[in-house]
């Protein structure tokens, strides 16, 4: 590459002089990325709100349906800054209740997906040969089925989908891409020299996997997982729109939005604020994911 020769000199110099670990360099790069920082702050705020909810709003508050006629569908006012909905519930309170549901669904399902995908991909990549081909052929088939159609199919077959079921379902339909990613990384790392060296020193397969190969896998999976969180929030909202998401009286932002569509556009505040909550959160997540990807890309530029 043309100018990289000069840059490589600096990259080499930077690593030698600064002598910070690749993680520190990445974190520093992330901190410098303002939009990613904004995203991270937004998520932190929302997450804190979600965690604090059960303390301030006990569970029964969130699933109550007071239905006081006088308080139904009030536009935003001083006492109800975001208005009230058709069951006379304060929209702001509902959104806070919904935050816990939406975020935990997203976070937990991505956790499931990332874990299953990493394990599956690592096994396939490490074994290689026929086992690898078979395992990946299976993933190819799973990837070919559009996720939404698969979700609809499963939702139809299993009659009741509690939140736990929903989390598992989303997680178990989301690990395919991660497994491909991990498999490629592990398969190429397998041929690496220090793996051969470790094996020559008598290290067991598991140890090699854990110590040498998995650290390399962490950052790409992290980026994929972050993107996945935003993705799941969107899909979950969509599923609710189709009627198969979170069931009342529990609410996620998606179901709150869907409830609001009924009286739209005269009662605009429910839709607008629920929609805004969705969009802002997903945007924040994507900003962080972008920033992470760039920070980690820069770190992985090898001085050759």
């Amino acid at each position: 590459m043309t100018t990289v020769r000069l840059d490589q000199l600096e990259v080499r110099e930077g690593v030698a002089i600064g002598s910070s670990s690749p993680w520190q360099t990445a974190l520093r790069a992330l901190a410098r990325d303002r939009s990613a920082l904004v995203g991270a702050i937004v998520i932190a705020i929302i997450a804190m709100v979600a965690i604090v909810t059960p303390l301030v709003f006990p569970d029964d508050y969130c699933i109550a349906q007071p239905d006081i006629i006088g308080l139904k569908n009030i536009p935003p006012s001083f006492t109800h800054p975001l208005g009230t909905d058709k069951f006379s519930r304060d929209v702001l309170a509902r959104l806070i209740c919904g935050a816990r549901v939406s975020l935990s669904i997203a976070f937990l399902s991505v956790l499931v997906a990332a874990t299953v995908g990493t394990v599956y991909g690592a096994i396939a990549g490490y074994l290689g040969g026929i086992a690898d081909s078979l395992l990946m052929r299976l993933v190819d088939a799973l990837l070919a089925i559009p996720r939404v159609l698969l979700l609809i199919a499963v939702a139809t077959l299993w009659n009741r989908l509690e939140i736990t079921g929903l989390i598992l379902l989303l997680g178990l339909t989301g690990w395919f891409g991660v497994s491909r990613l991990v498999r490629t990384l592990v398969a190429s790392a397998r041929h690496d020299e220090f793996v051969a060296a470790a094996r020559a020193l008598g290290a067991s397969d598991l140890r090699i996997l854990g110590q040498h190969i998995l650290p390399r896998v962490v950052s790409p999976v992290l980026v994929a997982a972050t993107l996945g969180i935003g993705n799941v929030i969107v899909i979950e909202a969509g599923l609710t729109y189709l009627g198969m998401g979170v069931q009342p009286p529990r609410a996620s932002w998606g179901s709150i939005f869907y409830d609001g569509v009924e009286y739209f556009p005269s009662v605009w505040w429910v839709c607008v604020f629920a929609g805004a909550a969705l969009v802002v959160t997903v945007l924040a997540v994507n900003l962080v994911a972008d920033g992470l990807r760039e920070a980690l890309d820069a770190r992985q530029l090898p001085p050759r």
């Binding site: 043309t2 100018t3 020769r5 000069l6 840059d7 000199l9 600096e10 110099e13 930077g14």
Partner: protein, 351 residues
């Protein structure tokens, strides 16, 4: 020398403005190339020779910049003052460049013939047919067998040596007055290297092209160049005719380079090495830039940046030893021991 030189580079400065500071990759370089001659430009990586070559054709991209005050006069025009259309008329047409990595210098999605023909289409407004014919002609010229068939192939189907020949063919389409060859043989096997150098020499004789041969390999210089420019730290540190350089090098760096070459017939226990490394272009040392690695350096070298001294006819050297030749004394054994231990030598006054 009755004719004016074909190319005159005066005080060329190319700086890169990076996050780590300003890298003064080329910091005041001047040289000339006459018509029909081959000039060798030698130096380690990081000395600025490639950047010099790119600067001539104004191929420096941001964050790099050719500083005002630099002048590059070619066939009577200052290339740095031309507008975009003007410099494009020169590139590939009057001055052509051959790059170092034949593997990556060719576009993988176009045929080899297409890429060579493009030069004719751009500069001679040739028709597709005419341009293609010219491409095949050039492939024949550089000695590629079955040229018509090869022209229809893609770069990944050719060997490294053949790709380099294609690059040479591409450079010669418009019969340029000057060809800049940036390490054209570094990426190739030794045997192919010899073939390519022979080809270049042959073509030069036949077509009368001037060549600027950039390399770190003194062996290549010995074979093709008539004059040599040695670069270090973004500057020219020595300039001489090839024979003079090899027989009586003046600058300690040149001396070091020559001694570092293993030579057949000379018994050596260890390869002589120039201790230390090239300093970063963002922070050239004060005074002489070679002082930390020079076996003769004394306090003047830290204090005063040496100008190019005239050593003999057509021979210059950027070293204070030109004025104080008595200081050319190898250091004491204590210092040599430190060198062997891997520590950079410190400037010492000679008792």
């Amino acid at each position: 020398m009755t004719q004016p030189p074909l190319l005159t580079v005066s005080d060329l400065r190319s700086y890169f403005y990076t996050g780590a500071g300003v890298a003064r990759a080329v910091d005041g370089v001047s040289f000339t190339i006459a018509a029909g001659e081959t000039l060798g430009i030698v130096g380690e990586s990081g000395c600025g020779k490639s950047v010099t070559a790119l600067s001539i054709l104004r191929l420096i991209q941001p964050p790099g910049r050719i500083e005002p005050g630099s002048r590059i006069v070619f066939e009577g025009q200052d290339l740095l003052r031309l507008d975009d259309a003007g410099i494009r008329r020169v590139r590939g047409n009057r001055i052509a460049m051959i790059f170092q990595e034949p593997m990556t210098a060719l576009n993988p999605v176009f045929t080899v013939g297409d890429q060579i023909a493009e030069v004719a289409r751009v500069h001679a407004s040739a028709s597709r047919r005419a341009a293609w014919d010219r491409a095949v002609e050039m492939l024949t010229l550089v000695g590629i067998p079955a040229p018509a068939q090869r022209a229809r192939e893609y770069p990944h189907q050719l060997s490294g040596g053949m790709r380099q020949r294609v690059l040479i063919a591409m450079a010669l389409v418009m019969n340029p007055a000057l060809v800049i060859a940036d390490e054209p043989t570094t990426a190739l096997d030794v045997t192919i290297q010899a073939q390519i150098l022979e080809l270049l020499g042959d073509l030069q004789q036949r077509l009368g092209t001037s060549i600027a041969m950039i390399t770190h390999d003194l062996g290549v210089i010995a074979e093709v160049a008539s004059r040599v420019v040695v670069m270090y730290g973004g500057e020219v540190v020595e300039e001489a005719r090839v024979e003079a350089l090899f027989e009586a090098p003046h600058h300690p760096y040149t001396e070091g380079l020559l001694h570092a070459m293993p030579r057949v017939g000379r018994r050596q226990e260890r390869l002589t090495v120039i201790p230390g490394t090239v300093p970063p272009p963002t922070a050239w040392p004060s005074g002489c830039r070679f002082r930390d690695r020079c076996p003769y350096a004394w306090e003047r070298c830290t204090r005063e940046h040496p100008p190019l001294y005239q050593i003999g006819p057509g021979h210059t050297s950027r070293c204070h030893l030109a004025e104080e030749p008595e200081r050319r004394v190898r250091r004491s054994d204590a210092v040599t021991a430190a060198e062997s231990a891997g520590q950079p030598p410190r400037a010492q006054s000679v008792a």
